[in-house]
């Protein structure tokens, strides 16, 4: 017989000291009733171990534990859910715990998470791996909870999952991307039939506001990076500035208005397949050019790429160029293919070694730069491209009508393309 058998304890304490004390009393025989604040319960539910603070799945836990009152008997917790679906209270709570990108989230109730899981065609307990830098477990349930928070629909789930898998590829270097001081975040570019089915925008204002699938899929991936990966700004995400694409950064390629085969087809995927390409990207920078001459157009783009502030001129990796549809048409009409554009930009988008010696990242220590062997550091006439090989320039066609293209510097790592697995006709 335990020493406190027959004793009733009501625990009204909050957070750190209360729950362990009440649990101890329960273990030695007392019947403990703990009263917690609605709608999500005591803070200790989310802080009982280091990995749980930035919800390695915390959203799903919050859903399960959504209770105004919790009782413990003999040391066990019995949840009595009385969720008050108060949007402001839920958001205040999530934001205080850091489970947020700052914008209001959709509360991840059990029912909503289940619907998104159904959209994924996979089990709640399936796991994609662990995500750095805090190594939260990427269970399907946790990813779905974050996708609900972002506002995703069930049919968006296959794209979210493929994007998360792309980030986990070593070539992307997610641990670095999550923690760096640099101004970088994953740009997601979607190809294939899934674009039309989900309404992913690759045309006018595709990088801007107004396209629900672009907005919510990119946001879901960011929330996964923060809430499961644990990259909380200021703590682990040490970005000096960050950039607006860290809220959401997802577009489609405008295959319909592109003169060339889609990006994923030239990368070896089947035209009927859908893919997502993840690229660790700075914010886009515009090239406004009204010429009809392909050489002059590409010189304008090359000149915009060749700037000493970009990481590429020191650590290489991949670089992304988004050609506007009007610019792509000018090039196509002159007989240019994607590979010709890559070749020309590789030759022209260069900085002279002396310029990098006087105004580069490591001015008088150019030997620190990760340049290919064939660049002679001591030659005053030598020039440095932004990438090691022409094909490391990733060329997409997107946007609406207008004399614009975009250049998007990388962080020094590789773009990764993953197939979007079809479920229920979603991909």
């Amino acid at each position: 017989m335990a020493s406190l058998d027959g004793l009733h304890v009501v625990d009204l304490y909050r957070n750190v000291a209360g729950p362990p004390a009440a649990t101890l009393l329960g273990k030695i025989g007392a019947e403990v009733v703990e009263v917690e604040r609605p709608p999500l319960g005591d803070d200790a539910r989310f802080a009982d171990k280091p990995g749980a603070r930035w919800p390695p799945g915390g959203a799903a836990r919050a859903d399960r534990g959504a209770g105004g009152r919790v009782a413990r008997r003999g040391g066990e917790r019995l949840s009595v859910p009385t969720l008050a679906d108060d949007l402001w209270e839920v958001n205040r709570h999530f934001q205080r715990l850091g489970w947020s990108d700052g914008l209001p989230i959709v509360p991840p109730t059990r029912e909503r998470v289940a619907r998104l899981l159904a959209g994924s065609g996979r089990q709640a307990t399936d796991v994609l791996g662990r995500m750095p830098p805090m190594w939260g477990e990427l269970s399907l349930e946790r990813i779905a909870a974050n996708a609900v928070m972002a506002g995703c629909r069930p049919e968006d789930m296959p794209v979210v999952l493929a994007a998360v898998e792309a980030l986990l590829d070593d070539r992307f270097n997610l641990h670095g991307v999550q923690c760096t001081t640099h101004v970088t975040g994953p740009l997601l570019v979607v190809n294939g039939p899934v674009r039309g089915r989900l309404g992913l925008n690759g045309a006018n204002n595709c990088f801007g506001q107004g396209s629900p699938a672009n907005a919510t899929i990119g946001r879901a991936v960011r929330l996964v990076m923060v809430n499961i990966g644990g990259a909380r700004p200021g703590d682990i995400d040490r970005a000096t500035f960050g950039h607006p694409g860290k809220y959401t950064y997802c577009i489609a390629e405008n295959e319909e208005d592109s003169p060339w085969p889609p990006f994923h087809v030239e990368a070896g995927f089947d035209p009927g397949e859908s893919t997502v390409t993840a690229f660790a990207a700075e914010a886009p920078h515009n090239v406004n050019n009204h010429t009809y001459d392909p050489y002059r157009l590409l010189d304008a783009i090359a000149g915009t790429i060749a700037t000493p502030g970009a990481n590429n001129f020191y650590v290489m990796g991949d670089y992304t160029v988004v050609l506007g549809v009007d610019h792509a048409r000018i090039l196509d009409q002159a007989g240019w293919k994607r590979r010709h554009v890559q070749r020309y930009l590789f030759e022209r988008a260069r900085l002279p070694v002396p310029a990098l010696r006087s105004g580069g990242m490591y001015p008088d220590q150019v030997e620190r730069n990760l340049w290919p062997r064939w660049i002679e550091r001591g030659d005053p006439d030598a020039t440095v491209p932004p990438v090691r090989e022409p094909e490391d320039l990733k060329i997409f066609v997107a946007g609406g009508a207008g004399p614009h293209s975009l250049v998007i510097p990388g962080w020094g790592t590789r773009a990764v393309t993953r197939s979007i697995v079809a479920t229920g006709g979603a991909a």
Binding site: P50, P133, M134, W135, C179, G230, D235, I236, R238
Partner: protein, 71 residues
Amino acid sequence: MAELEASGVPTAVICTTPFERAARLQWEALGFVEGSVVKVGHPLGSMPPDQVLEEAERAVDAIVSRLTAGP
């Protein structure tokens, strides 16, 4: 480093002051509670070489003591 620590080889994380918390949290996420982070002055990247040497002198004893600590 986690692999080395797990196999009983002591290690030391060296980082500049603003990154101490990030280093510690990531270390703890891998299951290591003991702090093994040695702080040096910030910003190291743009510090003149003689000051870098001073920072190294300041940190070396702490690093040696961690690397020679028993299991």
